[in-house]
């Protein structure tokens, strides 16, 4: 089986503080849709950050897209990040850039021509129903709209893996539906592996997903 994410006995924490996660195993295969749930402060976001190298691993083994995250640095980390798409809880859009340019970011980093970037950005903005706001700046949009832009940006370069941190946490029903349908579509049509950190798994997901739970610093799969 081709594991996109493989974690074994991992320990994670911030600087010299006590570890947030003391033990965890996780295996996510290509095209899986996985949820990570747990109480507030249980370390869900910390775990997600370790998957794209924002937090270093303390112990154990972790590989993402075949790249070991035990001591990733420089070019290796940059390469990994170009394979993945990230949706942050606080959106993290570049406020000085237009919505369209924000969506183009991963493509610009990937070295695509401007015409390709614009075409792809417009296609995704149409999917998230924000094409009419392509020339606006993020601060001119509502929270739900900003999250949809962030989702479009995360999918712009057809990533192998998409990591989303509470993508519908503060959204209205309409925006939430748009986000979930986009995630499902990315998995079905692009073969993207999806990992979502959330408090609640939407009922529309059915049963075709993996579920990992974090409790008292221990990560385990819910069968």
């Amino acid at each position: 089986m081709n594991h996109v994410i493989e974690a074994s006995k991992i320990s994670l924490g911030y600087r010299n503080d006590e570890p947030v996660i003391t033990d965890g195993d996780m295996r996510i295969n290509s095209q899986d849709f996985a949820f990570i749930t747990g109480k507030s402060g249980s370390g869900k976001s910390t775990l997600l950050k370790s998957l794209y190298g924002e937090i270093a691993l303390r112990q154990g083994e972790l590989s993402v897209c075949g790249i070991s995250m035990n001591a990733p640095a420089g070019a290796k980390l940059n390469t990994l990040r170009r394979y993945i798409g990230i949706v942050f809880q606080d959106y993290r859009l570049i406020n000085e850039w237009t919505v369209e340019k924000n969506v183009m970011l991963p493509l610009l980093i990937g070295g695509f021509s401007k015409s390709v970037c614009v075409q792809q950005a417009q296609k995704l903005l149409k999917h998230v129903k924000l094409l009419h706001k392509a020339d606006r700046h993020p601060l001119e949009l509502s929270g739900g709209e900003q999250q949809r832009v962030a989702m479009a940006r995360a999918l712009a370069h057809n990533p192998v893996l998409l990591l989303a941190d509470e993508p519908t946490g503060n959204l209205d029903e309409y925006s939430s539906d748009v986000i979930w349908s986009l995630l499902k579509s990315a998995r079905e049509h692009l073969g993207t592996t999806i990992v979502v950190v959330t408090h609640r798994i939407p009922t529309t997901m059915g049963s075709n997903y993996k579920h990992f739970f974090l409790e008292s610093g221990v990560l385990y799969e819910v069968s």
Partner: protein
């Protein structure tokens, strides 16, 4: 307004740096010109009891360029009315030989003193007049001014670099959020810092244009030109393309080094 202030915080130290560099270069040219002029005008007078050969003098004075005998006829002509022709002929016979020595370069005070003592040691030479004090004073002032300009330029360079580094840190803070987001999407170093490099290039270009324009106009300002003429100095005009290119190179070097130093620090601190 804030953006203008940010640009000015880089442009100002660059202008000061380029001004001090160009000022020092100008001073170098003035000193070199003055050196050539006083070398051409300068001569040593030697009084000898017999005819001297140029080759003999050249052995003691390697920088000798030319030697010519000074005819005493001008002085004797003045005395024609006061003394008899016979006495005048006797005086002419008893007069020593006067020589004017031209040098290929203007010697330092120490070298001049050595030339004088070497000449005085020679047989038949009774007197050597170097007129050292007259020429040496202004020359020394210019050399001191040139040395001070070098020290001044060095200090300005260090202070400018520190000021620019400080401004670059402010730029980095302003662009930090954007750079952090780009880092999370795997942007290479050059792409994250492209904006800062672009700002540095634009500011270098603006600072260079200002300094070139200043030095282009300065020699033709009547007050400055007349002040320079009063001390017998010609302010050299700047060559916009050649010297402007050098100035642009210097400002680019300083601005880009500042950006790189700050960005490399950011790179080390970013996960």
């Amino acid at each position: 307004m804030k953006s203008l202030k940010n640009h000015f915080s880089v442009i100002f130290p660059l202008i000061v740096l380029l001004f001090s560099f160009q000022f020092t270069r100008g001073l170098e040219v003035i000193v070199a010109e003055y050196e050539t002029r006083i070398t051409n005008e300068y001569s040593i007078i030697v009084v000898a009891s017999k005819t001297l050969e140029e080759a003999d003098i050249a052995r003691s004075v390697p920088s000798l360029k030319a030697m010519e005998e000074v005819s005493p006829s001008v002085i004797l002509d003045r005395l024609k009315g006061d003394i008899s022709t016979q006495n005048l002929s006797l005086l002419q016979l008893s007069l020593p030989k006067f020589y004017n020595l031209k040098l290929s370069s203007f010697p330092s005070a120490k070298a001049l003193s050595k030339i004088k003592s070497d000449l005085e040691r020679m047989d038949f030479i009774s007197r050597v007049e170097t007129f050292a004090k007259t020429y040496d004073t202004i020359y020394r002032i210019l050399v001191i001014a040139k040395s001070m300009a070098y020290v001044f330029m060095g200090l300005i360079g260090v202070i400018s670099l520190l000021l620019m580094l400080k401004q670059m840190r402010i730029w980095v803070l302003e662009h930090k959020e954007r750079m952090d987001i780009m880092t999370l999407f795997g942007a290479p170093f050059w792409m994250k810092s492209a904006v800062l490099y672009r700002l540095a290039v634009v500011d270098s270009f603006l600072a260079t244009c200002f300094v070139v324009a200043l030095f282009y106009v300065m020699p033709s300002v009547p007050e400055i030109a007349s002040a320079a003429a009063a001390i017998d100095v010609i302010i050299p005009a700047i060559e916009p393309l050649k010297e402007g290119g050098t100035l642009l190179g210097i400002s680019l070097f300083f601005a880009l080094v500042s950006v790189s130093m700050v960005m490399l620090k950011v790179k080390r601190e970013t996960p």
